[in-house]
Amino acid sequence: MDFDLSKPQKLLQQSAREFFARACPPEKVRELMATGTAFDDALWRDMADQGWTGLIIPEEYGGLGLSLVDLIAVVEEMGRACLPGPFISTLWAASLIARAGSEGQRKQYLEPISMGEMKATVALLEESADWDLDAVSMRADKDGKSYRLRGRKEFVNDAAVADLIVVVARSGEDLVLLPVESGAAGLTITETPAIDATRKLYSLEFEDVEVPESSALAFTTRIREAVEEATETAMVALCAEMLGGMEWTLATTVEYARTRQQFDKPIGAYQAVQHQCADMFLMTESARSAIYYAAWAMSEKDPLAGLAGAVAKAYCSDAAREVGNRGVQVHGGIGFTWEHNLQLYYKRAKSSEILFGDAGYHRNAIARKVIDEVE
């Protein structure tokens, strides 16, 4: 038994840490957040060269074919660097295509995603802002050999930079997954400026966007399960990213508490400050336990993996925010400034808390499994 990253996984993580420290320092994050898309093509291609855009994509589609645990080892480092851009969105879409796409569709999309030539996202939420798939109501009506998408999708991450948007819509009673290319006629993408400028949100309007029936990702009849599993994959990766952010905030705060002097002593010698830091450590390590386990359970296809994922996201959602709160408090005034990099991580923690459902949403999921599903 080994409840830890393996040696190769640690090496992979170390190289990712060095890569992002070099390629994505805070100045780069600030530069990108000031752009319209928070995306840097050269950085993305460098990541693709490392194989990370196709890390869990099977080798037959140009990926590395590694496990979800390998993936989170890398994504943790993306979180430590507060990496801007569409990594999680693309992972989400790719995971969906891998589960619901035909052989041809997998080749068509997963190969360029692996190569770093295609970015993608998933359009799921609507005005109801409900992560439950039952809430999907956007119409995809059949019209001869095509679907016609009409309506709006909200809170879509990275839509302006995505080459492909997988739209979750409803045809009759059924969920349909329709890949829409970024320049599709009738699609209007509008940025909705939000708290986290490093991962931008968009509102999408579909006015009769036509998608051929043959393009639908309908290789499986278990569309709902495919969306759920793909979302869980992206969600546990997001949790790992949150963990990296927590680690950055903890390390930065501890360093500050060691050096900042008041009343002729480092503030870290005062227990009131020490205990804030200890709590940040407790939350960070608790999150790690939950995330590593969820990733492992998912990679092992454990029947309780969904519950483990809900536990991880419920915990990380609150913990990432709270670690940020404590970090700002220990820093005092400087921690509240635009100049200090804490704000980047603080805002990312809030957007990540919301993405894929917050703690309350996932506690509901846990409750359904542990209270209602009695063996």
Partner: protein, 391 residues
């Protein structure tokens, strides 16, 4: 990451599972919390004897001392199987998990031979005399004195919060043998016969109404020099050995008990109706129960992680230092949730044998015993995060 068990571990698990299914006794009637008294005590002592005879007591101890030389993963399996089988706890817990291992690591051959077998069989029950009225978190400032008189130490002083002292036959006692040196350097660890003349045990009544720990008074108690554990004036390092065992072991057994409490609460939440519907359908209660489930699960996982780190690298990792905080603070939150789920009946001593009200009160001690939450946070801040010492 690989949480699968290897073939040896699976074999160990299956062997234990078979034994437990054939041997776990019917539960003792009445609530928990008074394990150290009367018939319940005898029930538990008999259970440990049976466990010992079958070779399942002190599994982590080396084979030469009657254990199985079980590695940490097997200890974790042991705990999980114990939970699954709803087997009673082992009564001589301090002897098995703290004092026995300390004797094994620093005791003389005579001490090992004399004491270890009877710890395993629960023939002799052990307590641990560390805390004093004026030496709580700062244990090293203890004042109970031992003065050499021929081949005996003469002990005078007082210990407090001593669990099991009222049934204990022996005590691992920390005493001051040199008052003229820095406090850590004048302490000696003694193995004291609790039946010696001059030992008086006075049970302390807790807010639960029970008396499971005690004050222990030592009035000219004579302890043979042969009963020094480790070296004279090196008792602090003996104590650290013990406390390291405490940190390593206490997390494991606790999950068992907590999971059972949570499962029972889930059952009650489906039975108790409020507003014509089971409480388990109340959205606020559901959020709270889910939060409790999540916290307990994360404690289980962190505990497994800490065990795996020690198992593979033989040194405790930093995650071990948060286990005490996790379980003690979880349990306080959980018992409050239980009160809310159960409603007005929760306050009755007659409801579920009064176990909920007992647990609710008992958890107040969780963040005090075995290192207060404040001390735990100091340890994390200073030893793990490297912040400057605050005292």
């Amino acid at each position: 990451m690989d949480l699968n068990l290897n073939p040896d571990e699976l074999k160990f698990r299956d062997e234990l599972r078979v034994w437990l299914s054939a041997n776990v006794p019917a539960p003792f009637a009445g609530r928990g919390g008074e394990e150290e008294k009367g018939e319940h005590f005898e029930y538990l002592r008999a259970w440990q004897k049976k466990v010992c005879d079958a070779g399942w007591a002190g599994i982590s101890w080396p084979k030469e001392y009657g254990g199985r030389g079980a590695r940490l993963i097997e200890q974790a399996i042991f705990t999980e199987e114990w939970a699954r089988a709803e087997a009673p706890q082992l009564i001589n817990v301090l002897g098995l998990s703290l004092i026995g291992p300390t004797i094994i690591s620093v005791g003389t051959p005579e001490q090992k031979q004399r004491f270890l077998p009877k710890i395993l069989s629960a023939e002799e029950i052990w307590c641990q005399g560390f805390s004093e009225p004026n030496a709580g978190s700062d244990v090293a400032s203890l004042g109970t004195k031992a003065v050499l008189d021929g081949d005996h130490f003469v002990v005078n002083g007082q210990k407090i919060w001593t669990s099991l002292a009222h049934v204990a036959d022996w005590c691992l006692l920390l005493v001051r043998t040199d008052p003229n040196v820095p406090k850590h350097k004048g302490i000696t660890a003694l193995l004291v016969d609790m039946h010696s003349p001059g030992v008086t045990v006075r049970p302390l009544r807790q807010m639960t109404g029970d008396s499971s720990f005690n004050e222990v008074f030592f009035d000219n108690v004579r302890v043979p020099v042969a009963n020094v554990l480790g070296e004279v004036n090196k008792g602090w390092s003996t104590a650290i050995t013990t406390l390291m065992n405490e940190r390593a072991h206490l997390g494991t057994g606790i999950y068992v008990q907590f999971k059972r409490n949570l499962d029972l609460l889930l059952e009650r939440s489906r039975q108790i109706k409020r507003g014509g519907k089971p409480v388990s359908e109340d959205p606020v209660i559901r959020q709270k129960i889910a939060q409790a489930y999540m916290e307990l699960e994360i404690f289980r996982l962190t505990n497994t992680r800490a065990l795996s780190k020690m198992h593979n690298q033989s040194v405790p990792g930093p995650e071990g230092s948060i286990l005490k905080l996790q379980w003690s603070e979880y349990n306080q939150r959980f018992q409050q949730i239980a009160m809310e789920v159960l409603g007005p009946a929760a306050q009755l001593h007659g409801f579920d044998d009064g176990q909920w009200i007992f647990n609710y009160l008992r958890t107040r001690a969780n963040t005090i015993e075995a290192g207060t939450s404040e001390i735990q946070r100091n340890i994390v801040a200073e030893r793990v995060l490297g912040l400057p010492k605050s005292y």
